[in-house]
Symmetry: C2
Subunit: 396 residues, 2 copies
């Protein structure tokens, strides 16, 4: 596991055990200096010339290729930009045009709400009888009927960590004539993903969780290479144009995945992300997955031994989970605040879920044991039962 | 003018006269340190807690209020996020829903292509007989017929600097029953804007030009306050939800302009922008406008005196221009490269426009004279007529 654990590459405060890399990854040590250089040497000195001379214009594709490697996608099939929510809109709107005789977008109640909201917004915008149909995660397979145009799912449930089988669901969707859109928010950098092997048409994701790109790091979109020149981008921005600097009055989509670019890319965010992605260049995702499961199994075993008040809310079978372990507890919000106060950072998801992410790049077995000790102390001594932990703040 | 000129606040390389702040503003000196602090002290130390403890979550509204002041909009009527292209899509899609009995979006051929592309994409997506109708800038007023749902214009033409009269055009649009959408890309920080007084329903803009927010700085959107609680956001992202952290399955729009937020905001970019915006807090836009016109008039007078090869492509009446002066020259691309090589940075816009922006925060009359001397030298000695200036690069 020595080549997976890379703690010294991250700047984690003393006394903190960070089990929330599934919300916002920690700061890679190389990022501040690299961003500083970008600001002073590129923006400061090259000014507008940075777009060419510092290759800012190529950055969305260059970083996209770094992400492609992590999700088992071909070079040139992923591009960065905007946010995950915008990328969901791009993927689903394009997917609907590929299956224009059907009206149902199928998703599940374990999907991240923003994905559902974006489709709800799209359905209202189109105002042509489209329907967002949402079923329980366990019912997705049997709900894929021949009226379904698009199946849109998040592979790993943000709340429970429950993991769909990408290949099987995609096969079922395609057998029913539907287009498949995967959200990899809790997959990229967390579990091995084989985009090419899955045969799915679209995937989207974010980069501020397991990939450690920083707060507000851009989203990504994948389009299956054989379709990339055929899809119609609903968000037809100038940087997705074939010749943006010819300033033609009419849109002509760029080649392949480039058409999924929209506006001017966020160079500062992309520079932080690109630096963070360099930590992934030698990571073997199968070894990372094995390390993650070892940590999760240790955590479950120790919590169940020491903290019987918590009920496992994630699948017990590790192959059915992503890289997080969630627990149900009626006073979960207060308990998580008390745990965080003692240096173990996880997070709470309404209504009663305590969520802990496992990131083998900077978490090891000693961290797990130390975290369990804190959680056990909080739970067995009712340390959460103080007034100060009961006021729910806006962001949890 | 002493309280307008603020050269020492910007890090401009020695020997450079930067007349391209209308493409990408230069680096404010305070930005690198502030971004460094955000990375190390906020992201690094607060980790996920930064959303609350460092007020990242409020940043899009907080910075929006700084932009609001510059464009004459009320507090709480502007929010930051995404890119200008995305904001165009948001504004026009919302505007169409307010006038759903009509099918024409009217714009002009001087609009920035991405605005036209985004509407073209929206029209194709909707597939309900919508039409993007584009006329010459001079013909907009008479083209506003009673079939027009939305008039979408950029106030200041990116190529020529020609300036629409916001109040008059808006009155005409509204008299014809249309909804008005203004793009302020070349207005915000360039000319006084009176959003409230214009009565326009929507405005959008970018912040990497005159506002100096850095490459890829986020866009902004304004919705007239009396409409903000009525508009339907087509891009219905979780951070525009009334209670994003309740993780409800159905979308319920947030209060007012907050519903125009979409995904997770780009905190690093917003931190750079917020720092840049601090330079605007004491700027009187009328005095800035007067300084800009003085610089432009000096530039036109000196170029016409010394460089007869160039033909003015901007309106001669300064009240009809934004904060740039453009010249037509058949070999404009080569000439601009030769000028840039000698330290005067302007830019080229196809097919034959040499464009110079005037930004009184860091450009003074001495810079104008020095720039004219370089341009005159290049033009009168045919220094542009070298092979190395003839190959057109991707980004110009």
């Amino acid at each position: 596991m020595a080549d997976i654990l890379n703690k010294s590459a991250f700047d984690i405060p003393d006394g903190v055990i960070y089990l929330d890399g599934n919300s916002l990854g920690p700061l890679p040590r190389a990022v501040p200096l690299r961003v500083q250089q970008m600001l002073t040497d590129e923006w400061g000195k090259l000014l507008i010339g940075g777009w060419n001379k510092a290759s800012w214009m190529d950055q969305p594709m260059r970083v996209g290729n770094m992400v492609a490697r992590i999700i088992g996608a071909a070079e040139g099939s992923v591009v960065m930009g905007d946010t995950l929510s915008i990328k969901v809109f791009q993927a689903v709107s394009s997917a609907l045009k590929l299956r224009s005789d059907r009206r149902v977008i199928l998703s599940d109640t374990g999907n991240f709400p923003s994905d559902l909201y974006m489709v709800e917004g799209l359905v209202k915008l189109l105002d042509q009888g489209y329907e967002l149909r949402t079923v329980a995660p366990e019912e997705v397979m049997q709900a894929i009927g021949d009226d379904v145009a698009v199946v849109m799912l998040t592979e790993v449930d943000y709340r429970t960590g429950r993991k769909h089988d990408m290949r099987t669901v995609t096969q079922q969707a395609q057998a029913a004539g539907a287009i498949m859109v995967w959200d990899l928010a809790h997959s990229a950098g967390a579990v091995p993903v084989d985009m090419t092997g899955s045969n799915a048409e679209f995937a989207v994701g974010c980069t501020y969780k397991y990939l450690n790109g920083g707060p507000g790091a851009p989203g990504f979109i994948y389009v299956r290479p054989d379709l990339a020149d055929a899809v119609q981008p609903a968000l037809a921005g100038w940087l997705g144009h074939r010749q943006p600097f010819d300033f033609e009055l009419n849109y002509a989509p760029g080649s392949g995945i480039e058409r999924m670019r929209v506006g001017t890319p966020p160079v500062i965010q992309l520079t932080a992300l690109e630096t963070a992605m360099e930590l992934w260049q030698d990571v073997d995702m199968d070894r990372l997955r094995a390390a993650s499961i070892t940590l999760q199994e240790q955590f479950i075993t120790e919590i169940e031994r020491d903290v019987p008040q918590l009920t496992l809310a994630s699948p017990r079978d590790p192959t059915m989970r992503g890289s997080q372990v969630s627990w149900q507890f009626d006073h979960g919000y207060a308990a998580m605040q008390a745990v965080i106060d003692r240096g173990v950072i996880g997070d709470f998801r309404a209504p009663d879920i305590m969520r802990f992410g496992f990131t083998p790049l900077y978490i090891d077995g000693g961290d797990v044991t130390a975290a369990v000790k804190v959680i056990s102390d909080v739970m067995n001594n009712d340390l959460w039962n103080e007034d100060k932990y009961k006021v729910k703040s806006r962001v949890t």
